[in-house]
Symmetry: C2
Subunit: 340 residues, 2 copies
DNA sequence: GTGAAAGCGCTAACAT
DNA sequence: ATGTTAGCGCTTTCAC
């Protein structure tokens, strides 16, 4: 309510010097219990708050973390971000969330902004390319999620996408189908891993891996749009003509799986009778599909806590000796529901 | 890559004084075209970036906006936030997004943090209670979305929830049903508006408004959970016994509507034959329901741009004369799909 | 145990 | 048109 108090006024009001006030606020250095009480009382009384800008300027750090995310409207990303932001908050960091809309120029601009704010560290999620620390004008700890980093001082946390694809493909094969992988043409490193897992498993299990075993959908269409579904229907029709039923599909995301299921319904394909399908993520949508979608669960909480913990550690390891730049790979898990 | 440059070093390197450098950076004050060129060149050459902490300290403002949001994993909120963040970024503001998880203590803590960062303004989205500017220790412009504000200097932007409820209820009535409203027990001011719209329409159209015309679901269960769906099935069964088919349901969100549709399927209720239903939001899920959900669309882009624009205006109106604290109410719209 | 003072990087009078 | 300087609020030597 009153005007903004500064440490100087608190000092005067408590009859001590600014340095002493600073010491008690940060519980750093020596002071008598008596002074402590007095200072704390004035602080409370006048509702004093530290000016973090001044503090940051002085300390050359801002207790702020930047998160670069491709697309907040994707539930996978938004819950990831939500969880990390929570972690950071509880550790007394604030978080600046930067939604790049998958646009590299914007990404660069954001990075400049974050640097100018003396951000202490960076979380970089997915995106098309690998992340190259060279675009940083000052070294700062960064942890990449689902996105291969390049350069020093960069940690990597990711689900085991390869393993997920292996599990899904094996499952589809066991169910007696000749699996096809559906993806959207945009290629992140996690998708690439899933494709590798798919191919390797196909080969290893002696399944035929032909030209149209991997179907790539236009990234111009949005999930859930009529265009997207139309395109899927067309691909599905071709598949029906070429393969024998039941079809087996590994979709690289649950949203995509959901669109495929709707297209399949339009084509009067029964699930899992005529078409067996497995998604990826265990997104909320998988429980709203009919029948409910069998999928590969990513452990979002785990990813979030590993990533934030690693970043905080890296920030506090002032010395860059601690080169525990081991990648952190997190297990995924098959969630059996009703589409296989 | 080199070390961090300061304005002082740029000054020396370009053979001018710091103030001149500051002037050309901010294009403020006079300087010769020649100096401008020289300074800009050194800035580029050494990859200088303004230290925004120092600037903020000096200017008593940080070019930062805080957004308080109840729950980022709700797509309505996340796309709202995504859109606003975009707007702010393009106007050169950074955004600190604070996910309170609907917890008031956390909300307060966030507000303290934002104040300490000398945030220039606040966007406050929804939440249980009205937002009282008295919890701010220093006056700052805030715009509330979907949440009734209390106190000075507070703008209000919201969809016309009342109108939406009127449209939905009327539609259900026209379809020959005796409408029931389903909600989750948590009460935000927007939900309250929808309830008013529902009740008023029922009365006005001479429909019977009895005790169980409004069904409130436990907020302990998460959307999509088995518990939630079980509870819905029970309520639905009662409804079937009491009313004659077809049932008419106005659900206060699309997610809720989707859960209701799944519960209805378990009960072998056909849609829209036995049950007609209208949701609210036009969330992505409405296009993944079967049949696709008829709903009331909120114009998220409009809300986002109005809110961010108003906030920026308020920030720049240093004088608090501009009391255009008119509420901004945004029209909603019926999206007819296949559930009525 | 406490205070005085320097300085983080910047802007904005106030000079010239 | 440009330079000098005070000071934003804070932390941290260095004295005492």
């Amino acid at each position: 309510m009153g005007k903004k108090m500064s440490i100087k006024e608190i000092a005067k009001l408590s009859g001590v010097s600014v340095s002493t006030v600073s010491r008690v606020i940060n519980d750093n250095g020596r002071f008598s219990e008596d002074t402590r009480q007095r200072v704390l009382k004035t602080i409370k009384k006048y509702n004093y708050q530290t000016n973090t800008l001044a503090k940051g300027l002085r300390m050359r750090r801002s207790n702020t973390i930047g998160i670069i995310v491709p697309d907040l409207s994707n539930t996978f990303f938004s819950s990831l971000v939500e969880k990390m932001e929570n972690q950071f908050f509880s550790k007394n960091y604030s978080t600046i969330i930067c939604d790049t809309g998958r646009n590299s120029d914007k990404e660069e601009a954001y990075i400049r902004m974050l640097e100018a704010k003396l951000t202490d560290g960076l979380i970089v999620i997915s995106g098309k390319k690998t992340f190259d620390t060279n675009i940083l004008s000052r070294p700062m700890p960064v942890v990449c999620i689902d996105r291969k980093p390049k350069g020093k001082k960069t940690l990597f946390v990711s689900s085991n996408h390869y393993q997920g694809a292996v599990i899904a493909t094996t499952e589809l094969l066991k169910a007696g189908t000749q699996p096809t992988l559906f993806k959207v043409s945009r290629n992140s490193s996690s998708i690439l891993d899933r494709i590798r897992g798919f191919k390797d498993t196909m080969k290893k299990m002696g399944a035929e891996l032909h030209n149209s075993s991997i179907i790539s959908l236009s990234s111009d269409y949005r999930a859930g749009s009529d265009d997207r579904r139309l395109e899927i229907r067309n691909k599905l029709r071709k598949l029906i003509n070429a393969d024998k039923l039941p079809l087996g599909i590994f979709a690289t995301s649950d949203t995509l799986a959901a669109d495929i299921m709707i297209a399949a319904r339009d084509l009067h394909l029964s699930i899992p009778g005529d078409l067996k399908i497995i998604g990826f993520d265990d997104a909320p949508i998988s429980r709203y599909c009919y029948p409910q979608l069998t999928t590969i669960r990513q452990d979002i909480s785990q990813i979030a806590s590993q990533a934030s913990q690693h970043l905080i550690n890296a920030i506090n390891n002032t010395d860059d000796d601690a080169e525990d730049s081991e990648d952190t790979i997190i297990d995924v898990q098959l969630v059996e529901r009703s589409t296989v």
